[in-house]
Amino acid sequence: MNGAKRLTTPLKDSDLDNLKVGEKVFLSGIIYTGRDAAHKRLVELLDAGKELPFNVEGQVIYYVGPAPAKPGKPIGSAGPTTSYRMDAYAPRLIEVGLKGMIGKGSRSQEVVESMKKHKAVYFAAVGGAAALIAKSIKSKELVAYEDLGPEAIFKLEVEDFPVIVANDIKGDDLYKQGMEAYRRV
């Protein structure tokens, strides 16, 4: 990806101030995995006033359920899953400091508003580019919910993970704007 920005997690507000939709970014550092089932449990903990299995402040959650790893490899194929299924839970995590999400597909207005209000961004990765994306993941460590299998929460160390800014802190939306630009009806 030519002309891509480079960002390292944890993300600070100042990292997000100048990010614009459509911008390519290479992410490095630690990110956490989480899908539907794990999100449900995280929000239940928040509802009960209990501590989360990891501190979400400044962190990025990647919506992914990876395939099993080959011997000697940290992870199997690991592309993004569709994000709207996490829309019901995302605002709660953004409120407590989550700064980034990686997935595919558009987000609800509620999530977009929450990102704007609390300064967080949504990155899109290329759905189905799972073997390619796996190459940017250097290590994987279980954090919580092993019983969920591929849906457990893992801590991933990534290097130059290729994403594109889909929603920025101004409330802009790559999906809406992109489609608008090419629509002929």
């Binding site: 459509g22 395939a67 099993p68 199997g76 597909g105 189905g128 992109g178 630009a181």
Partner: protein, 279 residues
């Protein structure tokens, strides 16, 4: 009457599970390359390049092209003059069990829609059996990812809705799905039959070699018209905006009741996987 021992089926199914998930079909790869030529949006082009590169990595390293290695769906054509000694369904499920474990494919099936407990071996498979003349067994394996399956839909239209009704319903389904099913997609359409027959036809339509038109003139016309309208939506690769939203629209039909016009849309992501073997 020929006899085939069910145990012969297990290794064949196991191999199909792996090869379908590692090797993207040449027809799909060709369509992605043609899409790259056609695409006007820079973001769309970048996506198509990543997908072509991803298919190469998966093929060369023998890894799953997508982490969602799908629900194991089978279309079986069973020759009437073939006797299977043993349990066909169990043989297929055992092949899935072995293929998904050894092939390092993700296990994505939960035992009940509400308890959500993973079966941990990607079984049970969904198995459709049709009888055909002859004494052969054809096994078509078509793993189906959840993201695109979730965007599929069906409706019981009125006969007066006609062709226009069908076109509008399908185009609206693609528009509503937007970026979610991982475009560029393949749109499987089933028209006619009964309430359960139409979605079955829509799924079967996805098995056709990409780029082949239906041999039924009414269906071929529908395919062309829907393809042109879908291209105008501007969704583009991954929904980032662009021209290449669908690689193909494929229609299958069946006679239907005088009162009905069932239409079903089964959306398939760009990782359109199916492989077959004949025993």
């Amino acid at each position: 009457m020929r006899t085939l021992d069910a145990s012969m089926i297990v290794p064949k199914v196991k191999a199909l599970c792996m090869s379908a998930n590692y090797y993207l079909g040449e027809d799909v790869l060709k369509a992605l390359n043609e899409g790259l030529e056609k695409e006007e949006s820079p973001a769309g082009k970048a996506v198509l390049e990543q997908l072509i590169e991803n298919a190469r990595i998966a093929r060369e390293e023998k890894v799953a092209m997508c982490q969602d290695t799908g629900f194991a769906v089978f279309f079986i054509e069973l020759g009437q003059d073939l006797h299977i000694e043993g349990d066909l369904y169990e043989a297929i499920n055992e092949g899935v069990r072995q293929g998904y474990e050894e092939g390092l494919l993700r296990k994505s099936i939960v035992s009940h829609p509400l308890n959500r407990v993973n079966t941990k071996d990607n079984t049970p498979a969904v198995i459709h059996v049709e009888f055909v003349p002859g004494d052969k067994l054809k096994i078509i394996f078509a793993p189906k990812g959840g993201g695109s399956e979730n965007m599929s839909t069906m409706a019981m239209l009125k006969p007066s809705d006609g062709k226009e009704g069908v076109v509008n319903f399908v185009v609206e389904a693609v528009k509503k799905a937007g970026p979610n099913p991982c475009p560029p997609i393949i749109v499987g359409v089933g028209i006619g039959g009964t309430f359960e027959k139409a979605p079955y036809l829509a799924k079967k339509a996805l098995l056709r070699h990409l780029g082949e038109r239906s041999s039924i003139p009414e269906n071929a016309e529908l395919e062309e018209e829907i393809e042109s309208k879908v291209a105008d939506l501007g969704i583009g690769p991954m929904g980032f905006g662009g021209r290449v939203t669908a690689l193909a629209v494929q229609v299958e039909s069946h006679p239907c009741h005088i009162a009905s016009l069932p239409v079903a849309v089964n959306i398939q992501c760009h990782a359109a996987r199916h492989k077959e073997v004949i025993l």
